[in-house]
Every structure is written in C-alpha cells, then in structure tokens.
C-alpha cells in the first residue's frame, strides 16, 4: 500500500459519503421536527433506486437518466407526503416506540411491494450519460461520475444550510425542532409544516437512491442496509444537525475506505484482514463517538421533549383473576405434551413461542419499567446461543453446561455494553445498543475459525433426558416460567421501584439517593442474562446456530413483540410474543408476501390498539367499568 493509493481511496470515499449524506440529512430533518425515527427512510431510498432505474431504462439517453433522477426525487417526496398524511398524522401523539413500530411496518410493506412490482432480481440501471468516463487522479482512474457525486454532496449541504438559516420555512423547522406545540400556539399550521418536512426528507432519500443507480443495481436488500447506515451517520453527526450529518458521512466513508485500502496487514506478527472490518467500522466509530460525545459530533444536548403522549399508568400487582389465568396457563403448559401426541408440531411451535416469550419479557424489563429502549437485544440472545454452542463445539460439553454458560456469557456482555449504554438515553441509547449488537453479529460472522463464520455451529443437540421433544418442551416451559416470574418479582421489589423511579425522573430519583445509572446498569445486565437463557435454549432447540439467527431482524422482532403486547403492562410481552410467534408461523407459510401481511397487521394494531393488545384490553375494560 502506498500513500498514493491511500489518498486515492480517500478521494473515492468522498463519493460514497455524498450518497450516505442525502439519506441521513433527510432522516435527520424528519426526526428533528416530527420526532419520528422513520425506519422506512431506507425503503424510500430503495424505491428511489428502483424508480430511477425503471425510468432510465424506459426512456434512454440523457433526458431519461437526468430527468428520471429529478422525477424520482419528486415522486418519492410526494410519496413521503402521502405517508405522512395517511399514517403518521394519526400517531404523533402515540408513544415514540409505537411510531417506530408503524414505520417498521412500512418497511415490510414497501419491501414486498417492490418484490411484487420488480421481482426478486436486482435491477441494473444504465450508467450516467455524459459522465461515463474517468479522470486520472494520482495515477489511477477515478470515474467522472464519482467526481460529480463528490461535488454534489457539499452542494446539497450548502443549499439545505441556507434554506434552514435564511428562510421562514427554515426558521419554522428549527423552532418546531425545539418546541412544536409552542409553534402551533403561535399560529403556525403544524400539519402542513410536518407534511412538507416529511416530503423534503423523503425527496432527499429518493434523490440519494436515484443517484446511486449509476453505481449499483437496485436491490431489495438496500432498505435495511441503508437505514442502519443512515442511523449511524445521523447519530454520529448529532441528531438534527445537517452539517454534522455530512461530517459524519465523510468520516464513516473514509474509515471504510481506509480499511479496504489497508487490506491484510500484520500486527505484532498476526495477520489481520482490515477489509473485514468494514462491516463493523461504522458501528465502532459510532460507539466511540457516543461514548466521547453522547450527543454526536455537532449535536446539542437533547432538550427534554414535551411528550405529547399521555402519562404512563403505574404498574399494579396481579389481581386474583390474572393469577387464576396464570395458573391455568401453567397447567395447560404441563398438559401440552399429552395433547401433542397426535400433533407433534404443537411442541415445536410451543417451544418457539415460549422462547420468544422469555426473550421479549427480558427486553420489556428494561424497555418498559427501565425506560431503556434497546435496539440490540439480539446481542444477548446471541451471546447466550453462542455461549452454549461454542462450549458444545469446542469442549463437547453436555447441555447442562451449555445452559449455564449461556446466561453467563450474555451477562458479561450485557455488563460491558450496558456500562456504556446507561450513560445515554432515548434514541442515542437505542443506537448504541444497536451498534453493540452489530458488533456481536460481526464477530460471529467474521471470526470464522472460532464461530464457524456464516455457516454457524451445527450439531448442538440436547442431552438425555431432554433429547425427547416433550421433555425439552417441559424444560423450556419451566425455565421460561422461572424467568418471567423472577423478572416480575424484581419489579415489585425495591430494586424495581428504583428502576421505575429512575425512568420517570432521573433527577428526582437521584435526589432521594438512588444511583440511577447503577440501578439501570444492573437491570440491563439482568435482562441480558435472561435473554441469554432464551438464546441458549434456542441453540439446543434448533440444533444449530448461525449469525443469521442473531441479526438486526431478531432485535426488531423483540421490539415488535413488546410493543404489540403493550409496553406498560407486565403481561404485554407475554401476549405480544405469543401472538407474534404464532402469526409469524402461520402467516409466513400462507403467502409469499408474508412481510406485507405482517406489516399490515402491525399497522392495523397500531391504529386500533395504540396501547398494545393488553393495554388496549385494559382501556376497554376501564371504559366499560367507568362509563
């Protein structure tokens, strides 16, 4: 590697930075004003790539391509406005996480819609007319199109910056970012402002996607990749800071370019392939930035947002009726193996449901009563699964040892990651936990010698007497029950009161002598250990584990389960996980478009039961009792 090639990679990295910036800037604008973390932003980008490629292929030549870029940006902007008006307007007063769930449902629906329209194959667009050549830079050929991207990024930054600083629209956006209710009380039509900001942000995503067509084919996989990249950029740059987003996009693109250009290097005699680091590089950057500057490079300390949601109801001990239902469930679980003699599949599904209940309950423990919205709970599930799997693989250990190792490894991971995470709150905490989960996932994927890489570990089977499925089911049921009851008991112990007090008001809790960070840290660790148990059981239930089973998707599944049940009820995660696991199992096998169906179900639930299933039932009961 020479200095010249390093410099060349650095220049080329700037082109990638521009693409990242467009998406992140839109996401940041939308978050700033509406306070909605729009997970579907990556889907808008993906739509941009498909629409632009389609237009460019249909109408050839410069007009088709460049006209298509502009038309695509406008169309995606319009589509964003429609989403805002039809869906988001109804949920601005819903709790933050519910909005997340709704936009996640959009991801599922848009992805399947794209599959239906464009099919599963990648769609390759034409190269940019007029910019097909390359120029000589540092003795290498740099595509002219990359030069164009390098220039247009800062140009868009400048335009956005001026628009925000100098126009009335910009002033309104900045004011609404701080206090949207007050802006409304001063006579500003917030609905219109929100719609236009959402449209502008979507337009930027569409533009980013359209410009990418000349470099890469449109693919159904881009939505989640782009959204996680964009999140990282926004968080590193500082929420709401457009300049910060550009800075962060440049840093991340450069770090990746650096990793690629170093390639395999030898450190202290050990060969290390840096290009493998690209998968984690951005998350490492984010973790470092969040630890050093918790609000991002150019972000400000988040003002305490005036929540538009109703205050949370306190937790109440289980009434007699609930205890009776609980006892009934225990009896039913004990009898299930008998029932399953004629239908063995019931046990397979039952184990899945139980494991998801345990996993979701452990996430709920820190999310609801702890107020820590972890986006990376799969990390501890994964550490548990790999803890058990590695022990079996390398030491031929039997299941009991594996099941002990699972929570221990998860606990250690949660103690380490949690120490950093509890120093943040809100979206920043969510993103840091996501980064840690991504790091765990990358280690599982990339450290092939230890973990078997993307093939994972095979042959993790339960030892006798649990090698019979009904026995394993009973073991799973017992451990799940134990875990759920333990977490529940903790919430009604002084520790649980302290955790809830810390969630409701950190200052007041500290003023009465509670070390909020410490309490939340311990809570985080306990939740991690319990998730580890679920992960360990999962490994033995499936007989194998692979990085796929612990990726972002699993973290999001857990979130959906908790939110589906209702975050402020203790039975919520149990019901949510059961419904979700059964739905996934039944819906998935019905149709090719199961994602869209799942998304539609989630949307219907969000709009009909804004407090989750259990929360919704509780409200219904309240209404019946107190007419």
């Amino acid at each position: 590697m020479t200095v010249q090639s390093l410099l060349f990679q650095a220049i080329d990295g700037l082109a990638a930075a521009s693409g990242l910036f467009f998406v992140a800037a839109g996401l940041s604008l939308i978050f700033g004003v509406t306070r909605i973390v729009n997970i579907a932003h990556g889907s808008l980008y993906m739509l941009g790539t498909y629409v632009a490629a389609t237009i460019a292929l249909r109408f050839e030549g410069a007009l088709g391509f460049w006209g298509g870029v502009i038309l695509t940006a406008a169309l995606i902007g319009l589509f964003g406005a429609v989403i805002e008006i039809v869906l988001l307007r109804r949920i601005y007063r819903a709790p933050e996480l519910f909005q997340l769930l709704a936009t996640f449902a959009l991801v599922l629906i848009i992805n399947d819609a794209a599959l239906w329209i464009w099919g599963p194959e990648d769609l390759l667009g034409p190269r940019a007319p007029g910019l097909r050549g390359a120029i000589e830079v540092l003795g290498r050929r740099l595509p002219t199109y990359n030069v164009f991207l390098i220039v247009i990024g800062p140009l868009v930054l400048l335009i956005l910056h001026l628009a925000l600083a100098k126009t009335r629209f910009g002033r309104l956006v900045r004011a609404a970012t701080q206090d949207r209710e007050m802006v409304g009380a001063l006579g500003v039509n917030q609905g219109l402002l929100f719609t236009s900001v959402f449209a502008l942000g979507s337009l930027l995503a569409g533009l980013g996607g359209a410009l990418q067509v000349a470099r890469e084919p449109a693919s159904l996989l881009t939505d989640l990749i782009v959204i996680s990249d964009a999140f990282v950029v926004v968080v590193v740059g500082g929420m709401g800071s457009i300049t910060g987003a550009y800075l962060a996009a440049v840093i991340i693109a450069e770090v990746k370019a650096l990793c690629i250009s170093i390639g395999t290097a030898s450190i202290a005699g050990v060969a290390f392939n840096f290009s493998k680091l690209t998968l984690v590089a951005e998350f490492l950057v984010m973790a470092v930035v969040l630890i050093v500057r918790p609000h991002g490079l150019l972000g400000r300390r988040q003002t305490v947002m005036r929540s538009l949601a109703e205050p949370e109801e306190p937790l109440r001990p289980a009434p007699a009726a609930l205890k009776a239902v609980g006892a009934g469930v225990v009896v039913a679980l004990a009898l299930t193996p008998l029932l399953a003699r004629s239908q063995p599949y019931v046990l397979v599904l039952g184990i899945d449901v139980l494991l998801m209940v345990l996993f979701a309950t452990s996430l709920h423990f820190i999310m609801g009563p702890g107020g820590m919205h972890s986006f990376g709970h799969a990390a501890y599930f994964g550490l548990g699964a790999y803890g058990a799997g590695l022990l079996v693989k390398w030491f031929a250990a039997t299941m009991p040892f594996g099941l002990v190792a699972a929570p221990i490894l998860a606990l250690l991971g949660a103690l380490l990651f949690g120490w950093f995470a509890v120093r943040l709150s809100g979206v920043y905490l969510a993103m840091l936990t996501l980064a840690f989960a991504q790091i765990v996932w990358s280690i599982a994927t990339q450290w092939g010698e230890l973990t078997g890489g993307s093939n994972g570990i095979l042959g993790i089977w339960p030892s006798a007497p649990f090698d019979i499925r009904s026995a394993f089911f009973l073991l799973t049921a017992a451990l799940t029950l134990l875990g759920v009851l333990l977490l529940r008991r903790l919430l009604f112990a002084p520790f649980g009161y302290a955790m809830r007090a810390g969630r409701d008001s950190q200052l007041r809790a500290e003023a009465i002598g509670i070390d909020v960070r410490r309490v939340h840290w311990i809570g985080f660790a306990i939740a991690g250990a319990v998730a580890g148990v679920a992960g360990g059981l999962f490994a033995f239930a499936k007989g194998s584990i692979s990085p796929e089973t612990i990726d972002v998707g699993r973290s999001i599944d857990a979130l959906v389960m908790v939110l589906l049940g209702g975050i402020q009820t203790l039975t919520g995660p149990i019901v949510g996980a059961s419904v979700f696991a059964v739905l996934q199992d039944t819906v998935m096998r019905q149709t090719e478009y199961w994602r869209a169906l799942l998304g539609a179900i989630i949307l219907a639930l969000v709009l009909l039961f804004p407090a989750g299933i259990v929360g919704g039932l509780a409200r219904l009961r309240l209404r019946l009792v107190r007419p």
Binding site: R93, R168, R171, L172, R174, A175, T177, Q178, D179, E181, M182, V183, G184, A185, L186, G187, V188, N189, Q190, G191, R300, T303, E310, P311, E313
Partner: protein, 243 residues
C-alpha cells in the same frame, strides 16, 4: 363594554390522563379589559389558559372567541383568530435569535369585529416597547436572562397582532424593574383595546393592572368580582390566595 365579551368560557372541564383538573370553569373578558385569574400554585390557572388555547388533550365545555366557538379548534387555528398566549415557562426557542423568535410569531394584521384595526406590531415597534430586546436582537434566545425572555415571549405573541392575550404569570421570577415594565406594557395594550386574561399569584401586581378578578382553587372558580372588591375582601384572600 357592550355586547358579547370577546372571550367567553363556559363549563370548561379538562383532564390530564385520568385526573380531572378543571371543573366547570366559566369566565369572560371584554375588549379593553384586563381580568385577573388568581389562585395558588396548582389551582388550575395555567391549565385554564392551555385548555382555552386547545393545548390540553381531553377537554369539555364551550369557549367562544370573537363570536366563534373555538372549543374544538386546533391551537394554530385559535391563534390565527387573534387569540395570543404567552406561557408561564416562556418557551423561547433557545436556538433561534431574538429576531427569529419574533418572526415565528408573525401573522398578518387584523381587525376587531367592528372594523377597528387591532394594533399591528413590527419588531421595531416592539423594540421601542422593550429597549433591552433591541440591544440583543441578534443574540440567541437561550442566551437571554429570565426578564429578557419574559419580554421576548410577550413580544413574540404580540407579533401575531392579537385581539386578546392570555398572559400566564408574567411577573413570576423576574426583577422588580421588569415587573414594572410588564405592568406598563399591559396598560398600554389595554388602551389599544386588547382583552387580557392575566394569571397571577401576586395580588400587588394584579392590583396595578386588573379591572376584575376570578379566584380559582382546585380547578373551581370560587370567587369573582371587581379587583377593588377583592382587595378589600380579606376573607377570600386568606382562604384562597395567601400562603
């Protein structure tokens, strides 16, 4: 004052979550009238104002303003009819300059029902009223002292050229000199025909500017009458106002 009052509230109830905060509050303010809404902390003064402005989620009752029922309108529609609101905690946009804060409140000039133009404000006219703001017009809202923020929040509301203003505790936590300035300002606005509802704990301040008063306690109106009468009525003061 003849005819219908500019702002009339009847049987107003409001809830935060499951807890009812206001119980059948009724009050009215006419043109050129300054009316005090008095009561201790937590009596429901701020909630009354927020409910009138449409800022409280669950509410019931009627609010009429300038001959229109505004009880179901969104806050921005209420503001656009000419009802201004300055919140107790000021809610200045900390990252915007003083001038930008004023610009957010800007609305077109408007007239009273009888065709008389309401005072039309510009930043220059506001700076004449509050000279301190003029000196700091390019400073960020977050850099201002409490008193300056109080002036700014009043100025920002006036930029909407309102016919009536809900002033939530303008004398709270500011220096005596600013309190005087506030009193002068309120009297000037009154001269120009604005209707003002002023929430206050400080009876000395209310005495300076108010014509009538309502006394709130636990979300109920417990007393109403002329300001002079309230000053003489030690009984009401002791029961509902003094600490």
């Amino acid at each position: 004052m003849t005819g219908e009052p500019l702002l009339a509230v009847e049987s107003l109830c409001a809830w935060y979550g499951g807890a009812q905060i206001l119980f059948d509050v009724a009050l009215s303010v006419g043109r050129g009238e300054v009316v005090a809404l008095m009561g201790r902390n937590g009596a429901g003064k701020s909630t009354t104002m927020k409910t009138i402005m449409g800022l409280v989620g669950r509410r019931r009752g009627t609010v009429r303003f300038a001959d229109r029922d505004i009880s179901r309108l969104e806050p921005y529609r209420i503001a656009r009819l000419g009802l201004g609101f300055t919140p107790e905690d000021r809610r200045i946009f900390a990252d915007l300059t003083v001038l930008e804060n004023l610009d957010i409140g800007r609305q077109p000039p408007r007239r009273f029902a009888d065709g008389m133009p309401a005072p039309a404000w510009t930043p220059e006219r506001l700076f004449a009223l509050f000279p301190n703001l003029a000196e700091r017009q390019h400073n960020l809202g977050g850099e201002m002292s409490g008193g300056e923020q109080q002036m700014l929040t009043v100025g920002r509301t006036l930029m909407g050229n309102p016919l009536a203003v809900l002033l939530d505790e303008p004398s709270e936590g500011v220096a005596p000199i600013i309190v005087e300035q506030m009193a002068d300002t309120i009297l000037k606005l009154k001269e120009q025909g604005l209707a003002i509802l002023l929430s206050e704990q400080n009876i000395q301040f209310a005495e300076l500017v108010c014509d009538r008063a309502y006394v709130l306690e636990k979300g109920h109106i417990r007393w109403q009458g002329a300001m002079a009468e309230l000053l003489r009525n030690d009984d009401v003061q002791r029961t509902f106002l003094t600490m």
